[in-house]
């Protein structure tokens, strides 16, 4: 990204080729005076002095998929929930607390449930959940 930015930061430098598909001419009549850079966008001048930006849709990280079984499903009324988290995720215990706060009927069930993240049991709800993780709530088992 830095190299691309360097390439467009100076109007004297020509753009290598039109093969830079996301580049978009915004308005060639208005000449902005600074180059702005942020996570999802960078901008500068093209070879003929036009203002170029590369825009990417601001994409939010994928949510945590929460799978609910047996009494947990009954308490919430859904088999699956999506829980939005930031790019760095969040502590598992915090997420469970938030789930319990949103669904009070789930609280007593969480106390006796096993919690799995991506299929692995997490005793004590330690660690973090990351964007896109699968979190499963397992109430006490009743097979056989």
């Amino acid at each position: 990204m830095r190299e691309k930015l360097r390439a467009i930061a100076s109007p004297a430098e020509a753009m290598p080729s039109p093969a830079w598909p996301p580049v978009q001419t915004v308005n060639s009549d208005i000449m902005p005076v600074r180059v702005s850079v942020c996570i999802n966008r960078f901008a500068g001048y093209g070879s003929s002095g036009e203002f170029l930006t590369e825009r990417k849709e601001a994409s939010s990280p994928p949510p945590v998929q929460v799978l609910l079984f047996a009494t947990a499903r009954t308490a919430v009324g859904e088999r699956r929930l999506e829980w939005a988290v930031g790019i760095r995720g969040m502590p598992l215990a915090e997420l469970l607390g938030a789930l319990g706060a949103r669904h009070p009927a789930l609280r007593p069930i969480l106390r006796t449930s096993r919690v799995l993240v991506n299929g692995d049991v997490r005793p004590g709800a330690v660690g973090r959940v990351r964007p896109g993780d699968e979190l499963a709530i397992h109430p006490p088992y009743g097979g056989g």
Partner: protein, 146 residues
């Protein structure tokens, strides 16, 4: 070694065939069936089983490995139904083929006990409303039927 979560009926003859090889001295099979228990809503007519499939299969496979190590089981089955299972139908079949009977009984017992404790499977009762059970009366002497 055979593990299974099946939406279709479990077959006892198929489980026996799985265990029946000339090597081991014998095999033990346990079949768990749905009981027609009385419940507040009437009488149980079926149980609906659900499983978290991937962890359940992984745990069943672990149980089989443990049965092999601890009891010398040469063949095992650990099958569980999912979905609706009517009264009288098998919901679970476990079995172990070992050199001697004591190990075979111990392995089968270990498999069913651990399965119930560790495998993520749940059941929900389906009951048919019925009349509440009649209060029992002491038998009357000297009166014939009819």
């Amino acid at each position: 070694m055979s593990v299974r979560l099946s939406p279709r009926p479990l077959s006892l003859p198929a489980a026996c065939r799985e265990l029946d090889t000339p090597g081991p001295g014998g095999f033990v099979v346990f079949v768990g069936r749905v009981r027609p228990d009385r419940v507040p809503g009437g009488r149980v007519v079926a149980l609906v089983y659900e499983a978290h499939e991937a962890p359940a299969l992984r745990e069943l496979a672990k149980l089989e490995t443990e049965a092999r190590r601890q009891f010398g089981a040469q063949r095992t089955v650990a099958w569980h139904r999912v979905g609706r299972v009517r009264v009288g139908e098998p919901a679970v079949i476990v079995g172990a083929a070992c050199a001697h009977r004591r190990e075979a009984f111990a392995a089968a017992s270990y498999l069913i006990d651990e399965l119930k404790a560790r495998v993520p499977v749940w059941k929900e009762e389906r009951a048919r409303p019925g009349r509440p059970p009649r209060p029992r009366r002491a038998p009357t002497r000297g009166r014939s039927a009819g």
